[in-house]
C-alpha cells in the first residue's frame, strides 16, 4: 500500500496539471476568439507530434520520414471507432477511440520497425518514407473509410482540454523516459551504435521500442486531430506533413524537448501569419529549412533544454 501511496504522490503534480486543462479550456473558450483557440489547439497537436518524433529522430537518432503515416492510422482507426463501432458514444468515448488509434499506430510501428530498423541513415529515411506513402495509398483506396473523398461526420469530441491533457501527459511521460537510464541508452545508440552494442545494449530492441512509443503518440495526435475537425482526408497525412514535423524537430534542436515544443508552436503560428499566400508559406518554409541547416544545423537549442540554455553552464550539456 505504501508503494501505491508513493506512486500517487510522485504523480500528483502530473495529474494536477492534466486536470487543470479543463478549467483552463473553459476559461479560454470564454475569453479567446475561436479562431485563435483553434490555432492553440493545433499547436497542442503539433507538440505531441514533434515531441514523439523527437524521441525517434532526436534522441535515438533514427531518421524517420514516415511519422504522418502513424498519425493517419491513429486518425482513421479512432474515427472509424466513433463512427462505426460506437456511434452513440458519450464524450468519454474519445479516450477509448484515442487509445485504439494509438495502439493501432503502435502496432504499425512494430510491423514497420522490425524490418526497417536494420537499415542505416539514408536507407532508413527512405524506407520510412515509403511505408508512410504505402499507408496513405492503402487508406485512399479503402472506400469504407471514405477513400478519396475523405471521412466526414466524425463526432467533435476533442477540445482544448483533451488535446492539452494529452500533450502534457505526452511531454511529461516521454521526458521521464528520456532522462532515465533507458533514455540514456537510447541516446547512446544515437551517439555510437556499435559502441552501444559493445556495451551490452540490445540496440534493435530499444530502437523498436522508441519507434513504437513515438508511433503511439503520433496515433493519439491523429485521433485528436480527427475528433477536433470532424473531417479527415489523406491529403493531411502526406510526406509533406512528415517533413513539417521533421522541420519542427530539427528547428528546435534534435534531442531537445523544449526545442521541439517551441518549434511546434512557432511553426504552427507562422503559416497563420503568412496568410496572404499559401504558396509563399511553403517557399518561406523551404528557405527557412535550407538557411537553418546552413547556419545552425543543430537547431535553436541544440540538444539542450531551455533550462540549461538559460543557465548557460558551458561544460555541461545533455
Amino acid at each position: 500500500m505504501e508503494a501505491v501511496r508513493f506512486l500517487v504522490r510522485r504523480n500528483a503534480a502530473l495529474a494536477l496539471m492534466v486536470a487543470l486543462m479543463w478549467p483552463l479550456g473553459a476559461l479560454l473558450s470564454a475569453a479567446v476568439n475561436p479562431y485563435y483557440l483553434q490555432i492553440i489547439v493545433y499547436i497542442g497537436i503539433n507538440v505531441i507530434l514533434a515531441v514523439s518524433l523527437n524521441l525517434i529522430n532526436g534522441i535515438t537518432g533514427q531518421f524517420s520520414l514516415g511519422h504522418a503515416g502513424f498519425m493517419a492510422i491513429g486518425a482513421y482507426v479512432s474515427a472509424a471507432f466513433t463512427l462505426f463501432v460506437w456511434p452513440s458514444a458519450p464524450p468519454a468515448g474519445l479516450w477509448v477511440a484515442l487509445a485504439l488509434g494509438g495502439l493501432a499506430a503502435a502496432a504499425a510501428g512494430l510491423v514497420i520497425g522490425i524490418p526497417t530498423l536494420r537499415l542505416r541513415g539514408d536507407y532508413l529515411a527512405i524506407a520510412t518514407l515509403g511505408f508512410g506513402e504505402i499507408i496513405r495509398v492503402v487508406i485512399v483506396n479503402t472506400d469504407r473509410v471514405g477513400g478519396a473523398r475523405g471521412l466526414f461526420g466524425i463526432p467533435v469530441l476533442a477540445s482544448f482540454a483533451s488535446v492539452y491533457a494529452c500533450a502534457v501527459a505526452c511531454v511529461v511521460l516521454l521526458a521521464r523516459l528520456v532522462y532515465s537510464p533507458k533514455g540514456k541508452a537510447l541516446a547512446a545508440i544515437r551517439e555510437d551504435e556499435t559502441a552501444a552494442a559493445a556495451m551490452g545494449i540490445d540496440t534493435t530492441r530499444l530502437k523498436i521500442m522508441a519507434f513504437i512509443i513515438g508511433a503511439f503518440w503520433a496515433g493519439v495526435a491523429g485521433g485528436l486531430f480527427a475528433h477536433f475537425i470532424g473531417y479527415i482526408h489523406t491529403n493531411s497525412f502526406t510526406f509533406l506533413k512528415s517533413i513539417e514535423i521533421v522541420v519542427m524537430v530539427v528547428l528546435g534542436g534534435m534531442g531537445s524537448f523544449s526545442g521541439a515544443i517551441l518549434a511546434a508552436a512557432a511553426l504552427t503560428i507562422l503559416p497563420e501569419l503568412l496568410r496572404f499566400g499559401a504558396e509563399y508559406r511553403m517557399i518561406v518554409y523551404s528557405i527557412l529549412l535550407v538557411v537553418m541547416m546552413l547556419t545552425r544545423p543543430t537547431g535553436l537549442l541544440g540538444n539542450r533544454e531551455i533550462t540549461t540554455w538559460l543557465s548557460s553552464k558551458p561544460s555541461t550539456a545533455r
Binding site: A198, M199, S315, R318
Partner: protein, 255 residues
Amino acid sequence: MALLEAVDCSLSFGGLKAVSGFSLAVEPGELVGLIGPNGAGKTTVFNLITGVYRPDEGDIRLEGKRIAGLRPYQINRRGIARTFQGIRLFANMTALENVLVGYDHRSDHRLLGTVLRTRYAERQSRQLEADCLALLEMVGLREQRDTVARSLPYGLQRRLEIARALATRPKLLLLDEPAAGTNPLEKIELMEKIRWLRNDLGLAILIIEHDMKLIMQICERITVLDHGETIASGRPEDIRADPRVIEAYLGTIGE
C-alpha cells in the same frame, strides 16, 4: 577450462583473408598480449571475439559455451567488454552518463516503473548513480562526472572508455591499443592500472599494443600475428628472441 577459447578461426572480406587459422586460449585472470605489424588482423580478432564479425570457420567459446555468431550485445552480457582503437565514447554525453549506459543493462529496469515513478524504480536509480560514481572514482574521473566526454583531454577519455567497459562487469577485458598517444609517465600509470585490474578485480585481460616494452613488461603470454596468421605464441622472453617475429617487424636480414 579456459575462460576464452578461440579455435582455428578464419575470416575473409571478399577475396582478402583477414584472419586465418587463429587460435588462442585465455585463462581466468591471465594477462595476454596480441601484437603484430599494422594490418596484421589484431583488431579483426577483437571484432571476431566480440561478435562484430562472425568467423567463416572455427569456433569461439566463453567458459565452454559457444559465442561465435552471437550478437555483440549478447557477448558483452556474457562477460566480454572492450575498448576501441580510436576511442568510441558517447561524445555528447557526460562521463557519468557514459558509464551509466554501460552499467545499466544489468539492472532490471522496467519501462513502466521508470515512467510512472514507482518507488522501486527510484531506488534503483539512486543505487545506479552511486555505483557509477564508484566506477569513475576507480579511474580517477570522479571530478569530471558532469563533463561532456567530447571535452575531456585525450588521456582522460581513454580512462573513461575503460571505466565504461568495466561498468558492464566483464570477466574478460579487451584493450585495443590502450597506450596509443600516451607519454612515458602515463604509460607507467597505465601498466599499474592494468595490473590492478587483473589483481584486484580478477579480470582476464587481452591487450593489443604496439609498445613492445609495455607488452613485454606486463603480459604473461604473447601471441604474434602477421598477415592474419599466428606466427608465434609463448612467453615474452621467447617471443623477443623469435626470428620469425623479428622478421615480421623488421624484414629479413639482407633485404
